[in-house]
Amino acid sequence: MKPKVAFFDFTGCEGCQLNKLNFENELLDLLAHVDLVEFREAMDETSDEYDITFVEGSISSPSCVERIHDIRRRSKILVALGACAVNGGINAMKNIQPIEQVRETVYGQDKYRFATLPAMPISAIVAVDYEVRGCPMSQPDFLQLFKALVMGKTPPTYNYAVCVECKLEENECLLTKGQICLGPVTRAGCQAICPGVGQACIGCRGFVEGMNREAMVEILTEKGLSVDEAVKRLQLFNAYEVAV
């Protein structure tokens, strides 16, 4: 029997959803191997149970918490897709400002009308079996994981830095050119796509385990940032982890 697959989204930009539809060449083949039972952006049908569930976006309101518990109960395997779901992503930046002030900035005197929580990764609320990192989620990574799960294998994980991939890709090092690059502490798996086109890594795949934060801040201050600016740069996609 083909595995029943579902997709759900929480607070995010839907870029990860879109990135899945962007496998134009492989899409029909992938679909042939699974039974797609729920994907609200693209279809009307729903289902009660799922073998493999992909979840995009962060948890950021009381109703999200309820929904993710319900989804987890009905899912055999749960995969977090993209930075928002894996580590809070860009949404978590709101956490580092007082919530009162954030609400007031956006809704003025109507600030109490809408319930909100700090932005959290999916794993803060329920168990997550696998993850695909990146903002948007890295496509080759997703493809590998998808194939592995459909074939009942364990997907690969990455716990080395983007710098390693830069070397493999023979990119010119941007730090030595004076740019503010987070490659030394960011998890690989994207094939160093940003440095490959002349743009510094901004840490969208989250950090390697046991990263040396002080050393990274020091490198960044050597490039001309203040300590505050360096921490802010690390927080861009990782404010949930780098809270202060």
Binding site: N22, L28, L31, D44, S60, K94, R113, V197, G198
Partner: protein
């Protein structure tokens, strides 16, 4: 007949983000007809505070994956206006090419994947793989081509990498652009012609409904305005984009985490149909011919025809992309570095036509190049009041239909606007209190 009717579509499918349709009628009197936006708010403007000018576009791109290029380009233009950064002609051409690609990508996604299933009475595009394989393959091919534009020119189609304030971190090569041109000519244009034929065959399923409203879009004296221009209203008048607050007049309503907007009337419409109504004269000939085939006439008041206007724009953008590549190659590609040396610090306002309509960003920078105030006005937010007004006119007109039929008409109406709900839930017009 004094009818009672209660419709509650929880989390409408085949739209981006979470919204509910709520309609209540008592004894033939319509009490309520709303699109409720229930997506959690995301507070982007607050996130921008204190951020460097090099980070603004990275952050605002994440407002919406579907519109990421549009947010990014608008953000870059806004920052450049605030900091007095000039960009080269080549940069403008490359950005226009990207805007074309993003318009094709988004319009194709909506027309084929989200709207066509309605016309064929299918619950999604997936069963069509079996019944209409050539159509699905064509749709995928066109999406791929649009994404190729994004990949080649900006490093990645979703959340582009190379566009930065003042220019690009990487310029595509001549060979890459030639290859792209070749695909546009040999694949893109024939697929456009076939798309018009497919849509023509399906156009009978588009509901007949009209409600004249105010249409707002950018306009430009020489071109079909997507990259830039002045704001204009079908009720008369063009405004510099700097006056956007007098156009958008946002307000908070109880049933939506996204703000609503009104200008001269109770509501206005933005998006492909508004652009068509205001600027059809500037479309290229093949797009105008496509419009004629599809029965889209200047000044169209049927919101369901927004999908048709999107298809017409795809034809225009495909051909226009070939023209831009020719112009770029004709001038000879230059290996330029982005201009990131501010000549002033202060406030800047930028506007672009993104697929769903006119988008405004507004930032104020301190003299270290850090944001002290920010505001983004998003197309879907501007359309929400108009969707409600359409529903209020539509429901009494179709009240004799069955409840499932009425529900389907309402869902199709909401989908026709191609709403991007994730986008619309972080609109604000209040400046930072301690700025």
């Amino acid at each position: 007949m004094k009818k009672n009717l209660d419709i509650n579509v929880h989390h409408i499918t085949r739209v981006e983000g979470h919204g509910n349709i709520v309609v209540n009628m008592r004894d033939g009197v319509l009490e309520k007809a709303h699109l409720n936006i229930v997506e959690p708010p995301r507070f982007f403007e607050a996130m921008l505070k204190g951020r460097s000018f090099t980070e603004a576009a990275i952050i605002t791109s994440r407002i919406c994956g579907i519109c990421s290029l549009g947010h990014q380009i608008t953000s870059l233009k806004t920052t450049e206006a605030a900091l007095g950064l000039e960009v080269s002609e080549q940069t403008v051409l490359l950005r226009k090419l990207l805007v074309n690609g993003a318009t094709i990508q988004s319009n194709i996604l909506h027309a084929y994947f989200l709207a066509v299933p309605d016309f064929l009475d299918a619950p999604s595009v997936f069963p069509l793989i079996a019944t209409h394989k050539d159509v699905v393959l064509r749709a995928l091919r066109m999406k791929r081509l649009a994404n190729d534009i994004g990949d080649i020119v900006s490093g990645r189609a979703v959340h582009p990498i190379t566009p930065v304030p003042g220019g690009f971190t990487r310029i595509p090569t001549r060979d890459e652009l030639l290859l792209l041109k070749d695909k546009l000519l040999n694949e893109g244009l024939p697929d456009c012609a076939a798309t018009v034929e497919t849509m023509k065959a399906l156009a009978g399923a588009i509901p007949q409904f009209e409600r004249e409203t105010e249409y707002i879009s950018l306009t430009h004296p020489e071109e079909y305005a997507l990259y830039g221009g002045a704001a204009c209203s079908s009720d008369g008048g063009t405004f510099p984009v700097e006056d956007y607050l007098s156009v958008t007049n946002e307000f908070v309503v109880a049933h939506s985490t996204s703000k609503h907007a009104r200008h001269k009337r109770e509501a206005y419409m933005v998006g492909a149909l508004a652009r068509w109504n205001n600027n059809y004269k500037h479309l290229n000939e093949s797009a105008l011919a496509g419009a004629e085939t599809l029965g889209l006439k200047p000044k169209c008041y049927n919101p369901y025809m927004n999908t048709v206007a999107q298809v017409v724009e795809v034809v225009h953008c495909m051909e226009d992309s070939v023209r831009i590549i020719d112009e770029l190659l004709g001038c000879g590609l230059k290996a330029e570095k982005p201009n990131q040396t501010p000549t002033r610090y202060g406030r800047g306002i930028g506007s672009t036509e993104v697929p769903r309509g006119i988008l405004f960003h507004d930032y104020t920078y301190d003299n270290h190049g850090r944001i002290v105030a920010a505001n983004c006005v998003i197309p879907t937010g501007q359309n929400l009041a108009n969707v409600d007004a359409d529903m209020q006119k539509l429901v009494p007109e179709i009240v004799d239909k069955t409840k499932p039929e009425i529900t389907q008409h309402l869902e199709m109406l909401v989908r026709a606007y191609d709403p991007c709900i994730s986008c619309s839930v972080h609109i604000l017009d209040v400046d930072f209190k301690d700025a």
